[in-house]
Symmetry: C2
Subunit: 415 residues, 2 copies
């Protein structure tokens, strides 16, 4: 079967001015990929009629599926509707079922209807209305020649809603799709070039398969793809995945679409363990990541963000002498923080961070990016020193990830 | 002066598969905008030679500046270099100054050189090498006809580094640029459609100026633009800005490119006040946001993440009776949390959050998204009830922002 080609068209001056990051395009691409449709191009264009018309025409020539976001809101700078009327040669019409959606949506939030809201029910006459339960602008569907066009509002929650409710189901129906096979190995704690060194011979040996290296600040993902038309090679493909996995074992924290905090959460939950954190370097980020996981209250008891020396002593029982002798940024202090918070919350496990996130606070002996991290699992403990970079936000992120990983390896008794 | 048109070309299968979000494009667009160069189009294409050649040719026709990211790394799936050789009709060459950069970079990190690293010094013969101090792949510059081409690696930190060090300065020099005038009003706590209601008449009255509404989950930004060629209208433009500002006063937390946590931080620092936080609903996110601000240790003393009832009582002194009578998610509890943490850290100000972030934990009386937030400024306090939505991560974000804003308004005695 020949691959179905899709394009994403993102309309919005705010995207071109760099004020908004195009998370919608990534989300849509991922969803399409999951049902075997490959996105060949993503184009971001301004709220300008001519640009929209030109981009739609180009996409129609190249792709069988075009998904377009943005430009359907209530503000005066949205001109997409008019452009659609011209492109598809249809009139604007008041659509009563959309007006009902808008009324229901606003009633539920006890917001009264205004003129801008009413105008959202006036839409280009399309082949199918995608009713929006998360906002006031509907999605629109058109079929022209061999291309399916979907127009969605620009708000991320509404894009997700309409993709899940309508777009994916319609496409699966149109094309009778089966998913392509992919495998994911998600690593942390090893840079991309070292990974390549470790598995270079395997890449050579199994060169018929595509393996993508996807560096994220949290680590490097390895994604293997077995195309829909290569079913007969499945056994060799699985061999390839298994060989890479075997080679990189200790760096792999999951083979699923999940983050380290989720993987660690499952380990804790599976073993009935509880966790607390003591944060200086990470300032709350560790707690934030851990509590991003639904159901984390089952194992996460809480944390202490101790940004001052006084609070390190008072809340965590770090000794004044330790602070004076070794400083707040030291192996000794971070170990006392971990013990202190474990004791304070009576938790089975603990993570502690201290360091110099920057840009200020450095000394001759202690440069920006220096960080100590400790983990405790019952009465076992590990401590590790890191030298991160100059960027404060990145340093906090890397510290938090390193803390989660240190505890994961301690619990699983890896290296 | 006619606007200089730019295009951004992002190369990478990981962007088209939706695995990586295109933050580079947003960053580059914003930087170009700041020196008066308008991005007309952003295109994301796969790591495929033909697609790259076609996209470069198209961009060259339409734009005077083309900035291209991705495809210059050490992994086998990067084929950009070969494509550049074909497009610009130049050979691959070993470039000794780049090899020195790579060696210096790796030495500094005490990483030994491998074959992949060596290959990074083999580059298409370009008009200018942009030396990279943050990574091993250099940037490349070509001038062809009237178009300036810049090729940057795909790692966000390296893109920022090369944009700041080379690209912006070169463009400013080529085009002798002066910045265009923009004004920003950053609001929070009011939805986009209400904003339009409040200033609809002004939008009509000053319709010659462009005002963009930029909804972010943290609030709505209003961005006014006075084009380079409209200098004679500056007085009327300033009137427009002042009228809008006057109308929306209490929702505006800054007129600069800064976040609420930064604006609040400046207020605290200016008044010599200290802050602590007690987090249940937000799980550490408040502390994280506050400590994202460089120098926040001057006013932020720390926080308690109290995810369990026991920790609310033990650390913050919330009364058992309060928890039994009103529940952990209640006005009474959040006020005791705020008082408790203020007392624990001896801080001038405090913020506390409690609620049901979801998806679990709801009861008949307390649905997912219910949240109570309290702020204290010395002995004054405010408490506010919110009903957020179904998304856990969004709920935490909205709760954290609402907490910062509640304290900001309390300190400034707004409404």
């Amino acid at each position: 079967m020949k691959a179905i080609k899709a394009e994403i068209l993102s309309i919005g001056n705010e995207l071109l001015a760099g004020i908004t990051i195009n998370t919608n395009a990534a989300y849509i691409a991922k969803q399409l990929h999951s049902i075997g449709i490959e996105v060949q191009r993503i184009t971001v264009i301004p709220d300008q009629t001519e640009e929209i018309l030109q981009a739609l025409a180009g996409a129609q020539q190249r792709a069988q599926v075009v998904i377009c976001t943005g430009g359907l809101g209530p503000t005066p700078d949205d001109i997409t509707k008019q452009a659609l009327c011209r492109f598809f040669d249809v009139p604007l019409e008041f659509e009563p079922t959309v007006f009902e959606d808008v009324q229901r949506f606003l009633n539920h939030r006890r917001i009264s209807l205004n003129q801008a809201n009413r105008e959202q029910a006036v839409i280009p006459k399309c082949d199918l209305v995608l009713h929006n339960h998360r906002g006031t602008a509907p999605g629109l569907y058109f079929k022209r020649h061999n291309t399916h066009f979907f127009f969605l509002p620009g708000v991320p929650g509404e894009v997700r809603h309409l993709m899940q409710k309508d777009v994916l189901a319609l496409l699966a129906e149109f094309y009778r799709l089966k998913p392509i096979t992919t495998r994911l190995l998600r690593t942390t704690g090893i840079p991309e070039s070292r990974l390549i060194d470790k598995i270079g011979d395997l890449l050579e040996q199994y060169r018929q398969f595509r393996l993508a290296f996807l560096p994220r600040f949290r680590g490097v993902d390895l994604r293997f793809t077995l195309p829909q038309d290569a079913e007969q090679e499945r056994k060799t493909f699985e061999e390839f995945v298994a060989s890479v996995k075997n080679r990189l074992q200790k760096y792999i924290f999951t083979e699923e679409e999940k983050e380290l905090e989720e993987a660690l959460g499952e380990i804790l939950k599976g073993k009935g363990l509880t966790l607390s954190v003591a944060e200086s370097f990470t300032g709350g980020l560790l707690g934030d990541l851990i509590t991003n996981v639904p159901g984390s209250s089952a194992y996460f008891l809480g944390g202490a963000v101790t940004y001052s020396n006084a609070s390190k002593m008072q809340l965590l029982g770090v000794k004044q002498q330790t602070l004076q002798t070794f400083g707040a940024v030291s192996q000794e202090t971070v170990l006392e923080m971990a013990r202190g918070v474990q004791n304070l919350f009576k938790s089975d496990c603990a993570i502690a961070t201290t360091g110099i996130a920057g840009p200020g606070g450095a000394t001759a002996q202690k440069p920006v990016g220096l960080c100590y991290i400790a983990a405790r699992f019952k009465d076992k403990e590990r401590v590790k020193k890191f030298q991160f970079g100059a960027d404060r936000i990145m340093n906090k992120q890397r510290g938090a990830i390193a803390g989660l990983e240190l505890l994961r390896r301690l619990i699983l008794n890896i290296e």
